[in-house]
Subunit: 463 residues, 2 copies
Amino acid sequence: MSLAPVLERIDATLPAALERLQAFLAIPSISTDPAHAGDCTRAAEWLAGELRAAGFEAGLRPTPGHPMVVGQGGGGGRHLLFYGHYDVQPVDPLALWTRPPFAPAIEAGPRGAVIRGRGAADDKGQLMTFVEAARAFVAVRGALPLRLTVFFEGEEESGSPSLADFMRAHAGELRAELALICDTGLFGDATPAITTRLRGLLGEEITVTGPDRDLHSGMYGGAAANPVRVLARILAALHDDGGRVTVPGFYDGVDEIDAGLRAEWQGLGFDEGAFLGAVGLALPAGERGRSVLEMLWSRPTCEFNGISGGYAGEGFKTVLPAVASAKVSFRLVGLQDPARIRESFRAMVRAMVPADCTVAFRGHGASPAARMDTADPAFAAARAALSAEWGRPAAFVGAGGSIPVAGLFQSLLGMDSLLTGFGRDDDQIHSPNEKYDVECFHRGIRSWARVLDAIAGGDRAVP
Amino acid sequence: MSLAPVLERIDATLPAALERLQAFLAIPSISTDPAHAGDCTRAAEWLAGELRAAGFEAGLRPTPGHPMVVGQGGGGGRHLLFYGHYDVQPVDPLALWTRPPFAPAIEAGPRGAVIRGRGAADDKGQLMTFVEAARAFVAVRGALPLRLTVFFEGEEESGSPSLADFMRAHAGELRAELALICDTGLFGDATPAITTRLRGLLGEEITVTGPDRDLHSGMYGGAAANPVRVLARILAALHDDGGRVTVPGFYDGVDEIDAGLRAEWQGLGFDEGAFLGAVGLALPAGERGRSVLEMLWSRPTCEFNGISGGYAGEGFKTVLPAVASAKVSFRLVGLQDPARIRESFRAMVRAMVPADCTVAFRGHGASPAARMDTADPAFAAARAALSAEWGRPAAFVGAGGSIPVAGLFQSLLGMDSLLTGFGRDDDQIHSPNEKYDVECFHRGIRSWARVLDAIAGGDRAVP
């Protein structure tokens, strides 16, 4: 069956698809902020409605946190599961946004139209490329090209606290042969890419308490323990001078990439200077002697995501603070074990806290790295389909970010993930003024139509 | 002339004096917060009115910041200047207060009645002990016992940015033979004390900027510089393992106390365990091998008063922050030069910042340490007067805190300061639930009556 009518339908209905996306982006589904819990549910309900409109049986599934959305559609052929997340990052610093983050609009950009708003690229715009592709199949053919389960999460940006338990409890409804995930980007803004390795993520919050109240830094300074000082020494000790993480046993399970992959990555022509220069930097800050792509795709990290303590307002306050805290995250690769690293990290920190101070820990998610078995013929089919849509050979790449769900799909449901996505480096995800290029949205929908058709064994000759 | 009728008048009018103090405490004169600028002026006007009621010619003097209050009173005899400050510390964390910080009240405390409210001890209650003593002299005798200039500042808690320029411009109106300052405490809660050495204070704010926006810690983590990591390394490097400050040249001008003073301090019976235990600590955190009193009175420090960067809200955000900043203060002793230390500190910090990051500095006050010449007979007279009021020998002590004005009185107006005050260690100044004991307020007023009378050469035989 020719795919051409499906692609034509996608082209013709793009304006309506863009309107649907803007309605979705207007819902401020910030999962990490309890004040937005109602908005998260509203986003989930909106999505379930769209899935039903696109031919799925779909509904919400409650969790201790925000609800999941699950849909079932199609019949014969391979059974794939598509995953995306409907929650978005917080928007601070709000003052840096050029428009209200939840009042999305199509704006002119240097490379064509963009959809601007929180979540445009991460991940609402991306997941909608799949929903719109499915809608087009149903509209044109009356059916999906293969059996599809759709699974949307609302806690991805807050460490996915409910995800693993939910997967265990709903394994029967979720298990498929392969997962499709649309939460990654083009390589170098134009080359379609399938991500075959993802870093894992371990989040930790440390809170050091010294005196039982804020003190006057003159009356007590020099004699009383200062939690900011204790915390600074801990954080400073987490990397050595060569940029390596010092947590004991941290590198257990980290392997070197093989010569073939190294060559493939070198062949990508990645411009380190341009990559760093785009965000105002110039010097690779990771382990000495590694390329930036290695740092991002094949090496683990320890990053500090936030720190606070004492008086941080306008002016000066001569306070010796009672409490200081930091949010620390580790990106993991290979076979690094998040649970063992958490334990080792906490033991290392505890040993650095003076006996009359205390330290408390709070975990924020722990997921191992994931590596996909690209021997599944779906990978070759998708590679060919993406190459056809974007007019250049698709690449197998790594990703610096963590998509914990891919690891959980492997460990809990026994399925690999085929990750592809259409974000660009300047999408400013997690930052003010997030956007998604209209071209990426449009070609993204077309890409999924081609990929689903190709995996289903359909006509691959569409130009 | 007998002092007895003055002391009797103080005892009889205590309730009215307490009411005046509560009216003063109700004005939220937080100098460091621009939103309270109007309240600072209101507090200054209130004080000028009280001074006029107590027999002074008094008025406000504008500055680029909050106004000064200057009053002149009395005629013959020695000419003394009394200094206090009408501004108060911020009140956060507000949730820890047991009552609104600016709705003061007399409450029952374990050792008798207390006045609770921000500024009760630091410094509104203390400065009012002097104003009330002056009022009693004028009420009973129709005149002050000697010539008095009164000088109240409204920027002490925010680094006194206008103070030095104001002193230079108003030297004629401010210069006296000796300054009296009431912003210190009793020693060990019961022993009256005259502080003869004060630490200086140098405040610095460091802001490290890395990438030009907040980044996704997965997309950039490992490759991009993290300003929190840079800042933590800087702060951690400011002390060595023995607790000494590592800023080059920091200890230039720091001298050891002599054997006599060491013996006097040892004779005070200071209980290190109780001092630290009162705030939930147990281990002296300063330079190894020093007593706590040495750490507080005769050794310089580097303290971290606040730190911020990245996401510090509820939950977790996988951000690689663009900016991190810290407020750092140094307590100075002996002949340490604040300007040279500032320069050396900034050079040391700059050298630790990667070439593609930037660091900005903002100074928050710089005042040298002060040491008083106790040969002035006013010191012996005050010591005797305080000993009589409190029923035990007054001590010459040091102070860990900084009262920059004392250094400026020396350097700009050529006068030493006689510092005494009636605060107690549990007054919780700079913390939630600040209080001042009614006993301290009452005996403080009586103390100033005795001190002024004694310095004026009056009747010292009042029991």
